[in-house]
Amino acid sequence: MTASRDPDRLIHAYLQEGAEVLQDRVYDVVRAEIDRKRQRVLIGPWRTPIMNKLTAAGLGVAAAVVALVVGIQLLGPPAPGGSGASPSADPSATVEPSPTAPSATPWTGLSQGPFVLTGSADPVQVAVTITSPSWVALPEFDGVGKNDDGLDPPQTVGAALIAWGWPAGTGFYVYGDPCHWATTTPEAPATTPEEIATALAAQASREATAPVDVTVGGYAGKAITVHVPMEYEVPGASREEEFAECDQSIFGLYGVDGETEPARNNQGPGQVDDLWIIDVNGSIVILDAMHGPAVPASLVDEIRALAESATFE
């Protein structure tokens, strides 16, 4: 190769060479695996309302449809000692569903009545009271979700309640900026509901509500609502693409002692998290009722009521 020949063109030409054919045996292995593996249920998709064209024109804004398919990996790892899988570097985007083939009997979801979210190994047992049909268990994440995709059984859920129970003494590092969490981790952790809620209220870009005193299941704590700005929205893009400008493409909420990455992440632009931060005999329990921007108010009310029905043991 001489200097007179353009290396870039040669690189290009070399990479164009050759045609590959994937062997049938590979397809056969894939087919055998997909026949064995179930697809996973998602939280989401969340959609913003489709605005009436006249309204949009009148307001001078463009209506947008957002499909926020939410991966549970974005929730961050399960709470330590939880009933779900151990925290992993790449937690699954989704959770195992009921079988997808049509069932002989109609799918009715979880039975109404008490439902234990957390596992026996958790520092605190959290139970809620299911009062309507179509709730689905999200056992890997100590939570429940509500079917809103019209499918039976559900393939996606539009709102979910997750319980996070942390051992007594856990320190919470609430980032100053959820997008640039790696460089805005506080030196000293928050350890009480008040400290955690205050730090969350001050978190950049959250449009958080003011923390309020609450009592859930006889235990005191703080409640706060935080948001993920819609400005990150890239229609059709993955969560990582939308949060590409953020540290490790993660929009973080908080970290905990001993972890180098956020213990709790957000799923996508527009996400709303209603948080109840409760002190249960020294253990911090965080109930997170999460939903998209267009979830019906009735479902938001229902999931809030579900969180407030929590009891602790």
Partner: protein
């Protein structure tokens, strides 16, 4: 057709996914083998990527973006394979070359050898951006999307990969000026 198959597969139709896999499998293999420089590793990466795509398919928001989405999964599968089984073959045989008075995109055997050696010296992440840019002809923003990098990082990585590739080729050219005579 592909969108229809994706939508069917998202509803749990394994047959549709099988058809979809057969539509995109060859191209996936072509990408993987160019990134990994090894057909066995590439087949393993494609297999892993297709299985992951099946389980995570409902996370795909826009069915028309199936292939870019799959390519990103494939890229990660390639990284995993490269990390798991580092067994790059070395010592390619240098065969007689031909005159250098060739069109710029005409590759001699010597060219191929130099290019192959140079590519193998790059990291798998560098090869990935080169493959998406030069083989698929993607823009930097598309390369970024398929490799999970911010656009600026993808641009920088492509720049460094190209520079490293050129430097490697030039160094090899200087080191073996008479390769044709020695090894023909």
């Amino acid at each position: 057709m592909q969108v229809g198959l994706v939508e069917q597969a998202q509803r749990g139709d394994a047959e549709a996914f099988d058809s979809l896999a057969r539509l995109v499998g060859d191209r996936c293999l072509a990408i993987a083998v160019r990134i990994l420089r090894d057909i066995d590793l590439a087949e393993d990466a494609v297999q892993a990527a297709l299985i992951t795509a099946w389980t995570e398919l409902r996370a795909l928001r826009d069915p028309s973006r199936f292939e870019p989405w799959l390519h990103r999964i494939l890229t990660n599968a390639c990284y995993a394979e490269a990390g798991r089984r580092k067994r790059w073959s070395e010592g390619l045989r240098i065969l007689p070359g031909t005159s250098s008075n060739m069109p710029d995109d005409y590759l001699t055997v010597d060219d191929r050898d130099l290019l192959e050696r140079a590519l193998r010296r790059l990291t798998v992440q560098q090869r990935a951006v080169l493959v998406f840019h030069h083989y698929l002809g993607l823009s930097i923003s598309e390369v970024a999307a398929r490799t999970g990098l911010p656009v600026g990082t993808a641009k920088s990585r492509l720049h460094h990969a190209t520079r490293a590739l050129r430097a490697s080729i030039e160094a090899d050219s200087r080191a073996t000026p008479h390769s044709q005579e020695r090894l023909a």
